[in-house]
C-alpha cells in the first residue's frame, strides 16, 4: 500500500481502558464527528437495541449527521492518494456511449459481479434462491438505465473477495457491485464510480470475547478476515499480536467464529451489521478503524461506463427522502444499520476528478 494513510489507531484510548475512561470519552466525543464512527454507532444502535453502552447511544445520534471527511484527531481518516486526490474521486458523471457502454447495450445484458453472502447487501435468499440486497437494488437501477428497460436482463456472478479485481481485468464481469471499498491501491488496477455508501473496518467478536478493541487485547486471539479484503490488508499491517486466519468470504469467518475455529473477525461495519443480524451473540467492537466508501468497480479501461454509472448514481441519490437510494436503505438496512424509526443516513456526496 503506497498510499499515505493516517491511521492514528487509538492506542491511547484502547490500551488504557481501565485507567483513563475520561480521556477516552473525550476522544470519543471528537470521533463522533467522523462519518465512519457515525455509521458504526448506527450499526450498533440498530442491531443491538438492548445495548446500553455509552458510545452505542452516541452513535445512534450521530447517524443523521453529515460525514465530515476531515475530522480532527480521529481514529480513522479518509484515504488520500499519492497525487493528493481523495480515493473516492471518480470521473465526471455523463452519459456518453463509449465502447464499454455499447458492448453492454449490444449484448442487451449486464453481467455483474456480486456477493451472495453479504446479508443486507447482496445475498441469496435461501427459500427462493433469489439474490437481493442494497447492492442488488443499485445494480437494478444501473441496468435499467444502461439497457433502457424497466425489466433488464442481469446476470449475477458470485465472486470471492479475492477475485473481484481479476474478474474485472479479464472481462468476466462488466462491473462489480459487491460492498467493495474504494482504495488508492485498487485504483491502480480498476476504476471506481463515486461513493454510494460510507463505512469503516471494524472488529466483530462474540459478546464474551476478551477482545475489547483494536489493541493488545487481540494478542493470541485468532482473527479472521476475507482474503484480499481491506480488513486482511489492515490486519497484515498491524495484527496487534493476533493470529491471522483468512477465508474466501467474510461470512465464512462468521462460520469459523461460531464453530470456535476463530475468536473474532474483521470486516467493515456495514457488513458486520449483517453478521450481527444473523447472529445476535456477536457484537461490533470499538470504533471503525478506517473511513472508507463503497463504490462500483469497473475495468480500468471502461471510463465511459464509469462516467455513465456516475450519472446513474447522481439520479439515484437525488430527491432526499424520496430518492431511490433512501428507498433502498429503508428496504434493506433499516433496523440493522440504523434504528427502526429513525431517518436513514444520507447518501455520500460524490467527489469528481477535475
Amino acid at each position: 500500500m503506497r498510499a499515505r494513510r493516517e491511521r492514528t489507531v487509538p492506542r491511547t484510548t484502547k490500551r488504557s481502558r481501565a485507567g483513563s475512561r475520561g480521556r477516552s470519552r473525550d476522544a470519543r466525543a471528537l470521533l463522533l464527528a467522523a462519518g465512519g464512527l457515525a455509521l458504526a454507532g448506527a450499526v450498533l444502535a440498530g442491531s443491538l437495541p438492548d445495548g446500553t453502552d455509552g458510545h452505542r447511544k452516541a452513535g445512534k445520534h450521530a447517524v443523521a449527521e453529515p460525514a465530515d471527511e476531515h475530522g480532527v484527531g480521529t481514529v480513522a481518516e479518509r484515504e488520500t492518494c499519492d497525487d493528493g486526490r481523495d480515493a473516492a474521486e471518480s470521473y465526471p458523471a455523463e452519459r456518453v456511449e463509449g465502447s464499454a457502454v455499447e458492448e453492454i447495450q449490444d449484448r442487451g445484458q449486464l453481467i455483474v459481479g456480486i456477493d451472495q453472502n453479504s446479508y443486507l447487501w447482496g445475498y441469496r435468499t435461501p427459500d427462493t434462491g433469489e439474490i437481493v440486497g442494497f447492492d442488488i437494488d443499485l445494480v437494478e437501477a444501473i441496468a435499467e438505465d444502461l439497457l433502457d428497460t424497466p425489466d433488464p436482463d442481469i446476470v449475477f456472478r458470485a465472486i470471492p473477495t479475492s477475485e473481484r479485481i481479476n474478474a474485472l481485468q479479464d472481462g468476466a464481469v462488466d462491473m462489480v457491485v459487491r460492498a467493495m471499498s474504494i482504495t488508492c491501491e485498487r485504483w491502480e488496477h480498476v476504476a471506481f464510480s463515486t461513493a454510494y455508501f460510507e463505512t469503516g473496518q471494524q472488529l466483530l467478536a462474540p459478546r464474551n470475547s476478551p477482545i475489547d478493541g483494536f489493541d493488545a487485547s487481540m494478542a493470541g486471539q485468532r482473527v479472521c478476515s476475507a482474503e484480499g479484503s481491506t480488513a486482511a490488508e489492515l490486519l497484515a499491517r498491524e495484527s496487534n499480536g493476533a493470529d491471522l486466519v483468512t477465508a474466501p468470504n467474510h461470512l465464512d469467518c462468521l462460520v469459523q467464529v461460531q464453530l470456535g475455529e476463530a475468536d473474532a473477525l474483521m470486516t467493515d461495519a456495514a457488513l458486520g451489521a449483517g453478521h450481527v443480524a444473523q447472529d445476535p451473540s456477536m457484537e461490533l467492537i470499538g470504533e471503525p478503524l478506517t473511513e472508507e466508501s463503497y463504490g462500483v468497480a469497473f475495468n480500468a479501461e471502461a471510463t465511459d461506463l464509469v462516467a455513465w454509472v456516475n450519472a446513474v448514481l447522481e439520479d439515484y441519490r437525488e430527491g432526499g427522502a424520496q430518492s431511490r437510494w433512501t428507498a433502498a436503505a429503508e428496504a434493506r438496512l433499516e433496523g440493522y444499520l440504523y434504528g427502526e424509526n429513525e431517518p436513514p443516513p444520507s447518501p455520500p456526496e460524490p467527489l469528481y476528478r477535475n
Binding site: Y119, G129, R157
Partner: protein, 477 residues
C-alpha cells in the same frame, strides 16, 4: 501348523520318526543313536543321519533296510505335514478373501459412495431452496444412515491394522460433525439467512478434505489387503509338491533296490505306500490348480471389473458434486466446471475412461448390459450438462438450476441422467460382486477335504512303507 495330531510326526527328523514308528526293537537303536539327530532342517538331517546309519549299519542288510524304511516313512510324513500346512494356509487365505477382506473392501467403497452422495444431495437440496423435494431429504438421510451403519460394521470387523482403525475412527468422529454442519445450514436457510449457504460450503469442504479422503484411503487399504490375501491363496504349494515328489522318488528307489536284491517285483506294503502318496500328490496338484483357476477368475474377471466399476462410480459422484457446486457457488470462475470435466473424462473418455474399461472387463451379457446402460446414461448426462452449462454462461441461472436438479421437469434434468448412471452401476457392481463371491467360493471349495486327506494318506503311506520293510526284515529272522 495348528493341528496337533499331525504336527509331531512332521517335526522330528526322519531318523527319529522312523525309530518311533519302527515295530522292531533294540538292534538298530544303538547305531541310530550315535549321531544324536542334530536340530537341522528335516530333509537334510534325514539324509545325514541316514548316511551315518548307513556307515554304522552298512555291514548288515537288516540295518540298511531299517534305514531305508525310516527315511522313506519320514519323507512321506513330511509330505503329509507340508501338504496339511500349505493347504490350510491357502484355504484360510481364500476364506478370508471370501468372507472378510473382499466384503470389507466393498463396504469401504460403499461408505465412500454414501458419503459423496449425501454431500451432493445436500447441495441439490440447497439449490432447490424451499421447494426441496422430501425425497431429496430422505435420500440424504438414507445415505447418512447407510454410511453410519457400514462404519459401525467396519469398526467391528475391519482388518486389525492400525491405519484402518485410524481411518474408521476419523470417519466415525467426523460424520456427526458433518451432519451437524448440514443441519445448521438447514436451520439458517429456513430463517432466510445466507449464513446457511456458508455452512453448507464449510460442510462440503469438510467432506472433501476429511471424510472422503479417509474413506478413499480406507477403501484402498482394504483393497490392497484383499488383493494380498488373494495372491496368498493363489500361491502354489511348492514345499508340499516338492516333498511329495521326493517321497515318491524315494519309494521308487526303495522298490527298485528291493527288486534288485530279491528279484521280487512287488512289495505290497511299498506298493500301497506308493499308491497313497501318488493319490495325495495328484489330489494336491489338481485341487490347487482348480482353486487357483477359480481364484484367478475371481481376480481377473470379477475383482478387476469391481475395481473399474467402483472407480467409475466414484468419478460419476464427483462429477455430479462438481456440477451442483458450480451452481451453488454461482461463480465467475470455472474451478468446479474444470473439475467436472476432469472427472467426466476419467469416467467416460473413450480412451482410458473407467466405464469403457469396465465394459471391456465385463465377462458376460448380464455384466455388460448394465455397463452399457451406464454408458448411454452418461452420454445423455454430458449432453444435458452442456445445455445446462450454456444456460448458465448465458446468464439464465434459474433455467440452469432447473436443468441440473429438475424440480419442474425431473425427467429432463442431468440429475435424472446421473441417477440412471448410479442405478446401472449399482446393478453392475452387484453382478460382479456375485460373480466374485461365486468364484472365490469355488476356489475355496476346491481345497475342501484336502487337509484331512493329506493326513490320512500320508499316514497310510508311512504305514505301508513300515509294513513293507517289516515284511522284508522278517525274512532275516
Amino acid at each position: 501348523m495348528t493341528h496337533p495330531p499331525t504336527a509331531p510326526p512332521a517335526s522330528p527328523p526322519g531318523g527319529q520318526a522312523a525309530t518311533a514308528h519302527a515295530p522292531w526293537p533294540a538292534p538298530a537303536t544303538p547305531p541310530a543313536a550315535t549321531p544324536p539327530a542334530p536340530p537341522e532342517p528335516p530333509r537334510r538331517s534325514a539324509f545325514a543321519e541316514g548316511a551315518a546309519q548307513l556307515r554304522a549299519a552298512a555291514r548288515t542288510e537288516p540295518g540298511r533296510l531299517r534305514i531305508v524304511g525310516a527315511a522313506v516313512a519320514g519323507l512321506l510324513l513330511l509330505f503329509g505335514a507340508l501338504t496339511f500346512y500349505e493347504i490350510t494356509d491357502r484355504a484360510d487365505a481364500a476364506r478370508t478373501v471370501e468372507d472378510s477382506s473382499q466384503p470389507l473392501s466393498a463396504d469401504a467403497a460403499e461408505i465412500y459412495r454414501s458419503l459423496a452422495d449425501a454431500n451432493t444431495t445436500a447441495a441439490v437440496g440447497f439449490l432447490a431452496g424451499a421447494d426441496e423435494d422430501p425425497a431429496v431429504r430422505e435420500r440424504y438421510e438414507r445415505d447418512i444412515d447407510n454410511a453410519a451403519r457400514l462404519l459401525a460394521s467396519a469398526a467391528a470387523h475391519s482388518s486389525d491394522s492400525a491405519s484402518a482403525r485410524q481411518y474408521i475412527e476419523t470417519l466415525t468422529e467426523e460424520l456427526p460433525f458433518y451432519t451437524g454442519l448440514v443441519e445448521t445450514a438447514r436451520t439458517n436457510n429456513r430463517q432466510g439467512l445466507p449464513l446457511g449457504g456458508a455452512y453448507l460450503r464449510y460442510a462440503d469442504q469438510r467432506m472433501q478434505d476429511t471424510l472422503l479422503t479417509a474413506a478413499e484411503e480406507l477403501y484402498e487399504l482394504e483393497t490392497r489387503r484383499f488383493e494380498s490375501d488373494l495372491a496368498q491363496a493363489r500361491d502354489r504349494p511348492w514345499l508340499a509338491l516338492g516333498a511329495g515328489t521326493l517321497a515318491l522318488a524315494a519309494l521308487a528307489w526303495a522298490q527298485r533296490r528291493h527288486y534288485l536284491r530279491t528279484n521280487r517285483v512287488f512289495n505290497p506294503g511299498l506298493v500301497a505306500a506308493t499308491a497313497a502318496a501318488a493319490v495325495l500328490l495328484v489330489w494336491l496338484a489338481g485341487a490347487h490348480v482348480m482353486a487357483r483357476g477359480a481364484l484367478s477368475d475371481a481376480d481377473e474377471n470379477a475383482a478387476q471389473s469391481l475395481s473399474a466399476l467402483n472407480g467409475a462410480w466414484t468419478e460419476a459422484l464427483k462429477a455430479r458434486g462438481d456440477e451442483s457446486m458450480t451452481l451453488v457457488t454461482r461463480g465467475a470462475g470455472s474451478e468446479f466446471e474444470d473439475s467436472y470435466t476432469t472427472h467426466m473424462d476419467a469416467l467416460a473418455a473413450e480412451r482410458g475412461g473407467l466405464l469403457p474399461r469396465a465394459g471391456e472387463l465385463a465377462e458376460d451379457a448380464e455384466g455388460r448390459t448394465p455397463v452399457d446402460a451406464a454408458v448411454a446414461a452418461t452420454e445423455e448426462w454430458q449432453e444435458r450438462h452442456s445445455v445446462a452449462r450454456e444456460l448458465e454462461t448465458a446468464g439464465a441461472y434459474d433455467d440452469a438450476v432447473e436443468a441440473v436438479i429438475g424440480v419442474e421437469r425431473p425427467e429432463e434434468s442431468t440429475g435424472e441422467s446421473f441417477d440412471r448412471v448410479d442405478a446401472s452401476l449399482a446393478e453392475a457392481v452387484e453382478h460382479e460382486q456375485r460373480e466374485f463371491t461365486r468364484a472365490a467360493a469355488d476356489g475355496h471349495g476346491a481345497l475342501g477335504g484336502l487337509t484331512a486327506g493329506a493326513v490320512l494318506l500320508a499316514l497310510l503311506a508311512a504305514l505301508g512303507t513300515v509294513l513293507g520293510i517289516a515284511r522284508r526284515l522278517s525274512e532275516y529272522r
